[in-house]
């Protein structure tokens, strides 16, 4: 039986680094010391979303969220809150006033669909998932005809959350309609987009939601095998998902004749090995087939010819995690959230020079300003916002005066900012545009798989030119050249990686051109970040 008081400790890859496990053990130690173990349960749960106030303890049934930084905080928490029943105001996060620049609204008013269980359940225990409506979406799907499930997803307007925003139902329909003896479902969990850590926290906080989404997809399109392709560096995600898969098998939710419906589905985890390009679906498929991850020529697209040349549905972690609730509550409910062209919510990763780095799930159409100032608490160290990169490494840079852009899948078309994978990377005014551009382009140069010339050579040329600027040797002609290279790559690179490199590059050049020009013919970087080569003094003979 549950004890009268429960303390949920938010444990995920980020909070582990803040000492979450150590603090949890210390808490248990103190509970023993004060003879409270009969009254208080301490449970591990997934991400509660933020990291600026230490490790998060959620006290139930009071529903009070504590931010614990060290063992002294725990002592105070146990003695005051648990023994004497007096809330420790200084440690309670919901009552802490955010900095003055922030609208005084609580972080908790975000809308949670994908993350509705993260931070509430023990991700290692399938029963807690089931207790909070887990696998009910699957049960409902299995009562429907596969085509009706596809229809429901189509009607919901769900678009892929990996970045491209392709309609999920349409993708499933392609695969469903192909007649083949064997089909596959792949979960793309190779989240390599710098700044994106939402998928990781979904897998760590609520792994069964991903499995359930994949099962529904498998049933809808007629697939019997699935793979979760996870980044090799994501040790905690791999552990949690493997554990969840084993439990799902134990409960008859994977394997043969699932819930007595006659539907069979097997699922396994495959590890990536460190290649950004493997997030591209055909490169990912090549990697599962045991090859180097170089993209394939499309068409044929994976829904028709994918893994081992069989029809394959490839969706992102967040997409799959959205599916069970949509099936359970229906397409109309889902369409009531977000914007008309992009229904639902989006999990955003807030990072960079922001006060509350972490994840937040908000309805589509939320503005960049809200994400940074309302949910993110503004810019750290009292500095000013200079630029924001939205959407990930391949996303756009916008200026501080453009942050009222609402983010949905069409925002790029309408406002020139991309939603992409949901990254909000805030950069303060102590940074130099040239330096930021160089860092980003070095990433692409390193991650280019080398298959096609425009990307392999283009990224290198871009890096070389930006290096000239960062050393004080740039010219205005070089800037025009960057546009030329960008144009060429956009139109001739083989896959999405190469084609999207120009997006961040040209958005940066368009909006911060003056800063690039300020590097030409001067003695030092205007912001003082770039280290210029010293000019050789003329030696008199």
């Amino acid at each position: 039986m549950r004890k009268p008081i429960t303390i949920l400790v938010s444990i995920d890859s980020n909070s582990l680094l803040l000492g979450a496990r150590h603090l949890k053990n210390y808490l248990i130690n103190r509970l023993e010391h004060y003879n409270l173990t009969g009254l208080v349960d301490v449970l591990e749960t997934g991400s509660l979303g933020r990291y600026d106030q230490g490790v998060l303890f959620l006290l139930l049934p009071d529903n009070r969220l504590y931010g614990i930084k060290d063992t002294n905080d725990i002592e105070l928490f146990v003695v005051e809150q648990l023994l004497k029943g007096r809330p420790v105001k200084d440690l309670i996060i919901e009552e802490i006033q955010p900095p003055k620049t922030v609208e005084a609204k609580k972080v908790t008013e975000e809308e949670r669909i994908v993350l509705k269980r993260a931070g509430k359940i023990d991700p290692k225990n399938i029963e807690e998932y089931i207790a909070l409506d887990g696998y009910r979406g699957l049960a409902r799907a299995l009562e429907m005809k596969p085509a009706d499930v596809v229809e429901e997803i189509k009607a919901s307007g769900l678009r892929g959350r990996g970045g491209a925003g392709f309609p999920t139902g349409l993708k499933w329909e392609f695969t469903m309609k192909v007649d083949a003896p064997e089909k596959f479902v792949i979960c793309n969990a190779d989240e390599g987009e710098p700044g994106t850590f939402k998928d990781r926290l979904i897998m760590e906080g609520d792994p069964h939601s991903v499995i359930e989404g994949m099962l529904i997809a498998g049933y809808a399109v007629g697939a019997s095998k699935g793979y979760v392709y996870i980044r090799g560096e994501y040790f905690e995600s791999v552990d949690n998902l493997r554990n969840a898969i084993a439990q799902a098998y134990e409960y008859g939710l994977l394997g043969k004749n699932i819930l007595g419906s006659g539907f069979d589905f097997d699922l396994t985890v495959r590890l990536g090995a460190g290649a950004y390009v493997c997030g591209e679906e055909t490169a990912l498929i090549e990697s599962i087939e045991g090859k180097s991850g170089r993209p394939r020529l499309k068409p044929p697209y994976p829904p028709v010819k994918g893994l081992f040349q069989k029809p394959t549905v490839v969706n992102n972690v967040e997409t799959f995690a959205s599916v069970p609730t949509i099936v359970m509550k229906g397409a109309n409910w889902f369409k009531g959230i977000g914007t008309p062209s992009s229904p639902g919510t989006k999990v955003f990763s807030l990072c960079g020079n922001i006060v509350r780095r972490g994840i937040v799930e908000a309805p589509m159409g939320t503005t960049v300003a809200d994400l940074i100032f309302k949910y993110g608490g503004g810019i750290e160290n009292g500095k000013k916002l200079k630029m924001v990169q939205t959407g990930g490494a391949a996303g756009t840079f916008i200026r501080a005066d453009e942050i009222n852009v609402p983010l949905d899948f069409d925002s790029f078309k309408n406002h020139g900012a991309s939603l992409g994978s949901g990254v909000i990377l805030a950069i303060d005014d102590s940074h130099c545009a040239v330096d930021v551009a160089l860092n980003l382009m070095e990433f692409f140069a390193h991650e280019s798989c080398g298959k096609c010339t425009p990307c392999r050579e283009g990224t290198r040329l871009i890096v070389n030119i930006l290096k000239e600027f960062s050393k004080g040797r740039g010219t205005r002609e070089m800037l025009d050249n960057l546009y030329n290279i960008a144009y060429t790559m956009q139109n001739s690179a083989f896959c999405g990686l190469g084609q999207s490199v120009p997006v961040p590059l040209t958005s940066m050049l368009d909006r911060f051109r003056d800063e690039f020009e300020a590097h030409v013919g001067v003695d030092a970087c205007p912001v003082g970040v770039c280290k210029f080569d010293k000019k050789k003094k003329k030696v008199r003979k």
């Binding site: 680094l17 700044g195 793979y227 290649a275 599962i288 087939e289 045991g290 990169q389 950069i427 940074h431």
Partner: protein, 167 residues
């Protein structure tokens, strides 16, 4: 280690990983992960020869895979492989200074291993821990909210642990 020993080891790993698989065609990357784990941070080139025999794939294809992915190495790496993130979210939160301090503390450049065989320093792309950037991974343990001072402490701690022989 003789070729025969390598062959037996690899064969054993190959069979074990295959037995846990959905499809025997899908396993090369997982097998390479298992081999690398067994040898501790690297894959001996002989392993490719054995895998050629076992999988029937051309040697060139196996070499290609081995060298394509950054997590695999055919050179012997140090006991502690340090992967430090140099992506933009870490860069703008003080990552550049952290990168420099690592090079200083270890007295090596990226891609190199220290003389005593203890550390290999590698640059990495985003590790998905941007909530606590700048970040690095030492083998499979992550360290966040790094500063140059913290980096030096961490390296010193490991060195001290090694000197005193504590496991």
């Amino acid at each position: 280690m003789s070729f025969e020993e390598v062959r037996n080891t690899i064969k054993e790993i190959y069979e074990k990983v295959n037995s846990e698989s959905l499809d025997e065609r899908d396993n090369l990357i997982n097998i390479l992960h298992a081999i690398q784990e067994y040898y501790g941070n690297y894959i001996p080139l002989e392993a490719a020869e054995v895998l050629k025999e076992l999988t029937g794939k051309p040697l060139s294809k196996i070499y290609e895979v081995l060298t394509f992915y950054t997590m695999f190495s055919t050179n012997k790496r140090g006991k502690y492989v340090i992967r430090v993130c140099k992506s933009l979210p870490c860069h703008v939160t003080g990552g550049a200074a952290v990168l420099e301090s690592l090079k200083d503390a270890l007295e090596i450049d990226y891609g190199q291993t220290t003389q005593d065989g203890l550390f290999t320093l590698e640059e990495s792309s985003c590790l998905g821990l941007c909530g606590v950037s700048p970040v690095m991974l030492i083998n499979d343990e992550a360290y966040g909210n790094l500063t140059p001072e913290k980096v030096k402490e961490i390296i010193e701690e490991i060195k001290e642990k090694e000197r005193s022989g504590v496991k």
